[in-house]
């Protein structure tokens, strides 16, 4: 029974990684850049929820909405101020380094406002735990909510991209910015929208993550951010189903590693598996080998 329990925990953790990985993968697919500050937006999102509840006295649901709005705006501001001027720069390294700079900036802003001490984050999930198999298997409310959130977000996002005009514009921009412009698509607007969606999802991920692992520091977002990036690469960066598969796999490997091998080694195992996968399938599980037609 413990195997099933580990599996469910893994899927739950993986769901959080998948939601974060979406932000990486969408931004990469459309702007062809790695937004390494994405993980820190999660942390900001979690602080906003915490502050809205404890300092402003908002109910949890309202606090989450505030956090989503805040992170959406934050994402768009980061994109317009820090990245947009560099997107056409000669070197893609410039954007990458800027992203790392933004990451440190966000961490230090949080440090300045909230201090370095670990804050305990009260779970905002009020769903009761599910007890199965006569008490042998308990699934926490957080786990249930996380998995459901992930399914809902994935489905909504895929429908949005397939069916909506803005979603189709995203596909066009990700394939060919120039041709997209010739269709009348506002490329900068589409990139900003992608950042907005990715950052809103980061806020959701922040709430889920901190509800399951109830501590919060300015560095809370860094490690999940890196792991979600790994998940995105795992699944094939640029692919939305890839983010889901990569995220879930990563979560399951991490929890199994912790449970059966060594809890200290879990992260090493995760990154070790990444190296192996990339050696076998360099473009990731669902990634495409990009071949330029001449």
């Amino acid at each position: 029974m413990s195997f099933i329990s580990y599996l469910i925990n893994g899927i739950s953790l993986g769901s959080v990684y998948a939601i974060i990985a979406l932000g990486y993968t969408m931004v990469y697919g459309i702007a062809k850049m790695l937004n390494f500050a994405h993980g820190d937006v999660i942390m900001i999102g979690a602080y906003v929820v915490m502050a809205s509840i404890t300092r402003a006295g908002l109910p949890p649901f309202a606090a989450i909405l505030v956090s989503i709005v805040f992170c959406t705006v934050l994402g768009v501001v980061i994109e317009t101020v820090a990245y947009r001027p560099l997107l056409n720069a000669a070197s893609s390294l410039a954007v990458l380094i800027t992203a790392i700079g933004v990451s440190y900036l966000l961490q230090n802003i949080a440090l300045l406002i909230f201090g370095a001490n670990t804050i305990s984050f009260a779970s905002v999930v009020s769903v009761p735990a599910l007890v199965l198999a006569g008490g042998a298997l308990t699934i926490t409310g957080e786990t249930i909510v996380t998995i459901i959130c992930c399914i809902v977000i994935m489905t909504a996002l895929m429908v949005f991209i397939k069916k909506s005009k803005a979603g189709q514009a995203m596909l066009a921009v990700s394939e060919d910015k120039g041709a997209a412009q010739l269709m009348g698509i506002n490329v900068n607007g589409t990139i900003a929208l992608t950042f907005a969606i990715g950052s809103a999802l980061a806020a959701v991920a922040g709430v889920l993550l901190c509800s399951a692992y109830p501590t919060l520091t300015p560095y809370t977002g860094a490690m999940p951010g890196i792991k979600a990036f790994v998940a995105a690469v795992f699944g094939g960066i640029g692919s939305i189903p890839g983010a889901l598969i990569g995220g879930i796999l990563l979560g399951v490997i991490e929890i199994f590693g912790k449970a059966y091998i060594s809890s200290q080694m879990a992260d090493a195992i995760v990154f070790g598996v990444l190296i192996v996968i990339l050696l076998v399938k360099p473009a990731g599980i669902l990634g495409k080998n990009i071949q330029e037609k001449v």
């Binding site: 189709q168 010739l182 269709m183 009348g184």
Partner: protein, 236 residues
């Protein structure tokens, strides 16, 4: 009044000057050919007109309006469509989705469906392959798709960049037949081609480009008989 007026434009890529002061005009209903060798600046001119590049000096006027500073994505809704060099269809989208993308700036669903039907009538091949991914089409089919996609915006003028590139002679003839049909149905055409013979055969007037400058212009039929043109571009 000219529909499209290019006034003394100069375009640079970094320090390199690609277009060294070019002026020309396209009148409503005309088919105008820009011909010249590789690197003469033909594509650069089209990119400057549709706003993908901006000129350092000079201006572009469309129906009397200065569009030099208007961003590329706002040009389409003014009534100008651009079929880019190398077709640049969206390979991971279906033929149908590509066509819909061409109507991105249009709102009325019923009208869009009507235009799609019109495009299918002109390119029956596209209807046969409407659910196929554009990347799996042959070169000729992709060219048809790129042209159909441009027609989806209901343009007053259509800019075509090397539509014959990489196509077999039979397909080239087919594509030029379609360009003539498009022109007859009332759309003004600005055609950029290396295949000077074909271009001159359907054009009303033509401009000959050499390294960023217009070296010759005039009636297409007259240019066909011009000795220097015959030698340099028609291989006679």
């Amino acid at each position: 009044m000219a529909m499209l007026e290019i006034k003394d434009i100069e375009v640079y890529y970094g320090m390199i000057q690609a277009i060294k002061g070019i002026s020309f005009e396209v009148k409503e209903g005309e088919v105008i050919a820009l011909i010249g060798a590789n690197g003469a600046g033909k594509t650069t001119i089209l990119h400057t007109i549709t706003g993908l590049l901006s000129p350092k000096r000079g201006s572009v006027l469309f129906e009397g309006q200065d569009i030099t500073k208007i961003p590329a994505h706002k040009i389409v809704s003014l009534g100008m469509a651009h079929v880019p060099e190398g077709r640049r269809v969206f390979a991971d989208l279906t033929v149908y989705e590509n066509l819909k993308m061409g109507a991105y700036t249009r709102k009325d669903k019923a009208e869009i469906d009507e235009t799609i039907a019109m495009v299918y009538k002109r390119f029956p091949r596209l209807e046969e392959r409407k659910i196929q991914l554009a990347g799996t089409l042959s070169g000729g089919e992709q060219q048809m798709l790129a042209m159909g996609r441009a027609l989806m915006s209901h343009p007053k003028i259509i800019l075509m960049d090397e539509p014959s590139m990489g196509l077999s002679p039979i397909l080239v003839n087919q594509i030029f037949d379609i360009i003539e049909e498009v022109s007859k149905s009332g759309t003004t055409v600005l055609l950029v081609e290396q295949n000077a013979k074909k271009a001159l055969s359907i054009a009303d007037r033509a401009y000959v480009l050499e390294t960023g400058k217009i070296v010759l212009e005039g009636d297409a039929k007259a240019l066909m008989d011009d000795d220097s043109i015959k030698k340099a571009y028609l291989g006679e």
